[in-house]
Amino acid sequence: MRSLRNLAILAGKQALRHRTRSVLTALGVAVGLFLFSTIETLQAALREATEASEEDNTLVVYRENRFCPSTSRLPQSYLDGIRAIPGVADAIPVQIAVNHCGASLDVIAFRGVPGDDLRRYNPDLTVVSGSYEAWRERPDAALVGAHFAARRGLEPGDFFAAVGLRVFVAGIVTSPHPQDENVAYVHLPFLQESTTLGVGTVTQFNVRVDDPEELDAVAARIDGRFGDGSAPTVTRPEKAFFAQTARDMVEMIAFTRWLGLGAVVGVIGLLANALLLAARSRRRECALLQTIGFPRRAVALLVLGEGLYLGMAGGALGILGSFAFLAWRRFTFGNEGLTLAFQPDPSVALAGMGVAMVLALVASLWPALEAARGSLVRSLRDG
């Protein structure tokens, strides 16, 4: 154990004291891990938004064959009928207005909801600054998701204009549901009157069911109830709705996984090349270590250790850089009015460090073998 610690210290000295090479190598690793971490953050946000879980109990009722909020129009009068369907715990009409229906990195989405119903329907919303009462009191007030507010630099008391609306920021809200962090909640009548839809028409209904296992059955009942009307509905679980409606975005983000894979392969190549060159330039040094009693596996461990340090340093730098970048730019990817915020995620950081360590070990294997094998006599003579 003590020998292993001494080897780890020696490997650390090798990495630290070959400063220029180490810094350049770690920077190369950092660039790869920056890309990997950013892409994994995208993937994590996508998983969060689309992967069904046993706790999911929310349905979205949308106009059949419509995909953009500006074209999905349902009579608000459906609300009482939906609430009366067996298995429905609660329902809320939602009017959505977005600045851009296609794919965009800067989506502004307003959700118009009845002022009396928001807190009851969405108890997970927490007002972190401003107040809920201030929102209730003003018809043009908005409760702005924290991610959205940070992206736009908004604080309670500010006014801001978008999508043809001018709203007063009454409060900043956070929520465990990422979608809530990226939107501004406004009063439903205010939004209806301010857009071309007019009073009495909404984009969708969000429906909470009594039993998560009944999601599909309740959805079928809703569509069965309104299927023959002039505005037929299609009802899906919230995450399936996201996956279906924003499928272009999902496909694009799924494609980025290949970029992440490319970054990983690039890191392996860079690190392996740097370590191989180092091992070759230090062939005589490795032979010397064996001459004075280092077993071959100790020499190999030294190279592996050095690779691990460089991988971890570069990995940490890349992941921190990625998180700082995402926190600074606060990108919100949106499509068809649905948003996906790229927020730093600790699980991505852990996974990234794990990947960096595995990559470092894989990249160091061949250089470690090169350093440890070969003729001592030839290495001492030729270097």
């Binding site: 003590r2 020998s3 040094e285 010397l288 001492l380």
Partner: protein
């Protein structure tokens, strides 16, 4: 009274290897005995097999045939891993070009052979490094890196690294070949003291008759065979 048994004994030591299309035999049926605590110099022209013999004696290279006993170990019968362990315990090696690790200080270079010694505490290890550096007169240069030392100082650091494990055998491959006269003098004095005062068996390859004259005995290696060499008195002086 019987003489002490030899510390090192070669019988029919032969080394051959392939070099391109040719089969080279630098050592051929070589016999050699070295007494414990003896300072032996090996001389000979380039290509005579001096360094090959030294490598075999130090357990760096394997003889092709014959016996090679150092102390109680038959080096010819040990595999690479066993030879590594043997070197760590019993043999110190001094190179002509010092072979210090450039990014490590003198202290850290001398510490290297002790890093993997089992059961050795850090305080004891550091004490042994300090003692080895003091032994070669470089206690005050412990934290200098090789680039900050003169050639003679570098070679003395290499010598400290060779003796820090307290080996019974010291082998030195032209240890003064790259040094000026004064630095060479210091290194040779140290080797002499280690043999005389500490009972180390020292085997040194050299081209320099003056350096060879410091040894208790000098052998001449030519075409893979050993001959007793006489150093003229004026050279020795």
């Amino acid at each position: 009274m019987n003489p002490p048994p030899p510390f090192l004994r070669c019988r029919g030591l032969t080394k051959t290897y392939q070099k391109g299309p040719n089969r080279v035999t630098p050592l051929q049926s070589l016999d050699l005995e070295v007494a414990p605590g003896e300072f032996l110099a090996l001389m000979g022209p380039s290509g005579s097999g001096k360094t090959t013999l030294l490598h075999c004696i130090a357990g760096i290279d394997h003889p092709s045939s014959g016996e090679l006993w150092v102390g109680d170990s038959n080096l010819a019968a040990l595999d690479r891993a066993q030879l590594t362990r043997w070197r760590a315990r019993y043999c110190g090696y001094v190179f002509q070009l010092y072979h210090l690790v450039p990014i490590l200080s003198a202290f850290e270079n001398v510490e290297l052979p002790l890093l993997l010694t089992k059961g050795l505490r850090r305080t004891e290890r550091r004490e042994r490094v300090r003692a080895a550096l003091a032994r070669v007169g470089l206690a005050d240069r412990a934290h200098h890196r090789p680039a900050e030392l003169s050639g003679g100082q570098e070679q003395r650091v290499a010598l400290a690294r060779a003796i820090v494990t307290d080996p019974e055998l010291l082998v030195a491959d032209e240890p003064t070949g790259d040094l000026d006269r004064e630095a060479a003098r210091q290194v040779l004095d140290l080797l002499h003291e280690l043999a005389r005062d500490n009972g180390k068996t020292v085997i040194m390859v050299t081209h320099d008759p003056r350096a060879a004259a410091e040894a208790d005995r000098c052998l001449h290696l030519e075409k893979g065979r050993l001959l007793e060499a006489n150093i003229p008195a004026e050279v020795a002086r």
